[in-house]
């Protein structure tokens, strides 16, 4: 499927990441957004609220983030593509319903424009400190997909991909922006609708009576139905069997949970999106994501000019973590340098996957600004001296 011609603002724009993410959602075919405004994500729903009446979408400002995160799932089961948008404190309130989306396999998109925390923290300033919350914030075992853009252009492109992945894997997909990317204005090129690939929902062709809600028929994910089409379904957050009915036995739990986790983990290589730069001969590889992946570049270029063998991996999908990739790379390099706008989150994943084969060095930052490139340069120099 291609994007709807009426919905796509083809052309070059000078807009910020928030507005670009809103346009990405519209281009992806999103027709329902529920949200509660919160800095620094508000501009996304402002954009949506202004544009939806022109493209046949519905925006509802809900009473809070808890309601927003479940209203979108109602819209999905009514047949629409839907998302909600928030930042730190609102993201915390949404955790329960990320779990609900995971267990009910409801394809939906959450955008979190990260700001400094915990609690109210730094409303207008950046952080990347919700990365582990994105992965583990709801209780129980489950898998999600998390994508991290580093420019307004990617806020557009990757929001489309988020909707597509949500439909393909029937998982909540989290777009983990940050205040800097969200509020930065830059050129964004919106392509022709014919050049935008859209993944449509797989609705069943089976008649009511023959259809069961969670029977995958040997596929990765089951087909869906929508309210009003005459199918009687039971959708629950309880552990359920293929018919969707509550069945609280260890056997059903094992079958259900295994599939929820495997459909993501076993396709990690297909979901994986990362950028490699100069890693062929690298002794040290900087692993970064989001805005930090731009901040590291002056440091890497300076080190390279001095003859230091430094490479760069930019994680575009952070969850599922590219475990196999990092494991293999760790055997070829001496060290990883991991700068992030938190006091140590994704570095733990890198260190786990390095499994002692390479040194792992965190360059922490408590948030409120981005790193000084000098701090990253010093860390690169430091690991090379000590290695």
């Amino acid at each position: 499927m291609k994007a709807d011609k009426k919905a796509v603002l083809t052309g070059a724009h000078f807009i910020d990441g928030d507005h670009a993410a809103g346009e990405g959602a519209i281009a992806a075919g999103c027709k329902f957004v529920a949200g509660y405004p919160i800095t620094p994500s508000t501009e996304i729903i402002e954009r949506i609220a202004a544009r939806f009446p022109l493209v046949g979408g519905m925006f509802v400002q809900m009473e809070d983030e808890i309601a927003s995160s479940i209203a979108i799932q109602g819209a999905v089961w009514a047949g629409k593509k839907a998302m909600t948008v928030t930042s730190g404190p609102g993201f915390s309130l949404m955790m329960e319903h990320i779990g609900f989306a995971a267990i009910t396999e409801t394809p939906c998109v959450f955008i979190n424009v990260q700001r400094g925390g915990p609690s109210t923290g730094l409303p207008t300033l950046p952080a990347q400190a919700d990365m582990m919350q994105a992965r583990w914030g709801s209780h129980g075992d489950y898998e999600i997909i998390a994508i991290v853009p580093n420019s307004p252009q990617e806020c557009f492109d990757l929001t489309i991909r988020a909707f597509n992945l949500a439909e393909e894997y029937r998982v909540p997909v989290l777009v983990m922006m940050d205040e800097c990317v969200g509020h930065m204005t830059e050129k964004v090129v919106i392509p022709d609708p014919d050049e935008i690939d859209i993944v449509d929902r797989k609705f069943t062709k089976k008649p009511p009576g023959e259809y069961t809600l969670f029977n995958t028929n040997g596929e990765m994910v089951p087909e869906m139905v929508k309210a009003g089409d005459g199918y009687r379904i039971h959708l629950t957050g309880l552990t359920h069997d293929e018919k969707g009915y509550p069945a609280m036995s260890p056997k059903v739990q094992q079958t259900m949970l295994r599939r929820l986790v495997d459909k993501v983990l076993k396709n990690e290589d297909k979901i994986r999106d990362l950028e490699e730069d100069q890693i062929e001969d690298a002794d040290v590889v900087v692993v970064s994501y989001g805005i930090t992946s731009r901040v590291v570049l002056p440091a890497i270029n300076k080190a390279r000019k001095e003859g230091l063998k430094v490479g760069h991996i930019r994680l575009i999908t952070v969850w599922p973590f590219p475990e196999l990739y990092i494991r293999e790379l760790a055997k070829k390099v001496e060290a990883f340098v991991v700068p992030e706008l938190n006091l140590g989150q994704i570095v733990h994943e890198v260190e786990r996957c390095a499994a002692g084969n390479a040194v792992t060095k965190l360059v922490p930052h408590a948030g409120g600004a981005v790193h000084a490139p000098e701090d990253i340069y010093d860390a690169i120099k430091g690991v090379l001296t000590n290695a």
Binding site: F14, T185, V295
Partner: protein, 192 residues
């Protein structure tokens, strides 16, 4: 010129962010350059010091914050006091003549130009276009952006129906900027 860092500072509501937005848009959409705009803003929406950070470059911009601005535009005293600390020595400083007082010893550290933007805007009948006078002066004095690119960016960024007034304000500011450059050249020649 690989990378030029610009700070536009004033108080919220003066059109500071729009000015920065126009510079960035002119560079990245109507010229073949790259640009980023970051706005620093506090929880207050109006009336406090605010600043737009613009980077214009011939190459893709990695680090999007300004570190040592090459150019600063200040249109309120508070914003000048708050943000002028990091302007590069000998950097271009453009201030609103009646809104900002710059002491002689500070002015001598920079390539300093003043523009009576409020007065010019008042003469045109609407004080609201003061920022466009400043944008015009900036365009003439810095030579960083093509004049027609800036004019296209203005037309593309303002409410429909206000083009004539805004472009007139831009033109007045531009003329003032050219005059300043001419005076500066004459001074240099006199010294020589």
């Amino acid at each position: 010129m690989a990378r030029t860092e610009i700070r536009v500072a004033g108080f919220g509501g003066q059109g500071v962010i729009l000015s920065g937005y126009i510079f960035g848009k002119a560079a990245s959409l109507f010229d073949e350059k790259f640009a980023t705009l970051i706005q620093s803003f506090g929880p207050e929406a109006r009336g406090s010091a605010c600043s737009a950070q613009v980077i214009v470059s011939d190459e893709l911009i990695d680090y999007p914050y300004i570190r040592k601005p090459d150019i600063m535009v200040a249109i309120s005293q508070e914003a000048f006091s708050k943000y002028s600390y990091d302007l590069k020595p000998n950097g271009i400083l453009i201030t609103e003549e009646n809104m900002v007082t710059v002491s002689g010893d500070i002015a001598s550290m920079y390539d300093h130009y003043t523009v009576p933007a409020t007065r010019i805007a008042d003469q045109l009948g609407r004080r609201i276009v003061m920022n466009m006078v400043v944008v015009g002066c900036f365009t003439a004095v810095t030579g960083l952006l093509k004049k027609d690119a800036v004019m296209k960016a203005i037309e593309d960024s303002i409410p429909k129906g206000t083009e004539e007034l805004n472009l007139k304000a831009f033109e007045k500011g531009y003329e003032h900027g050219l005059e300043l450059i001419k005076q500066r050249k004459e001074q240099v020649e006199e010294k020589a």
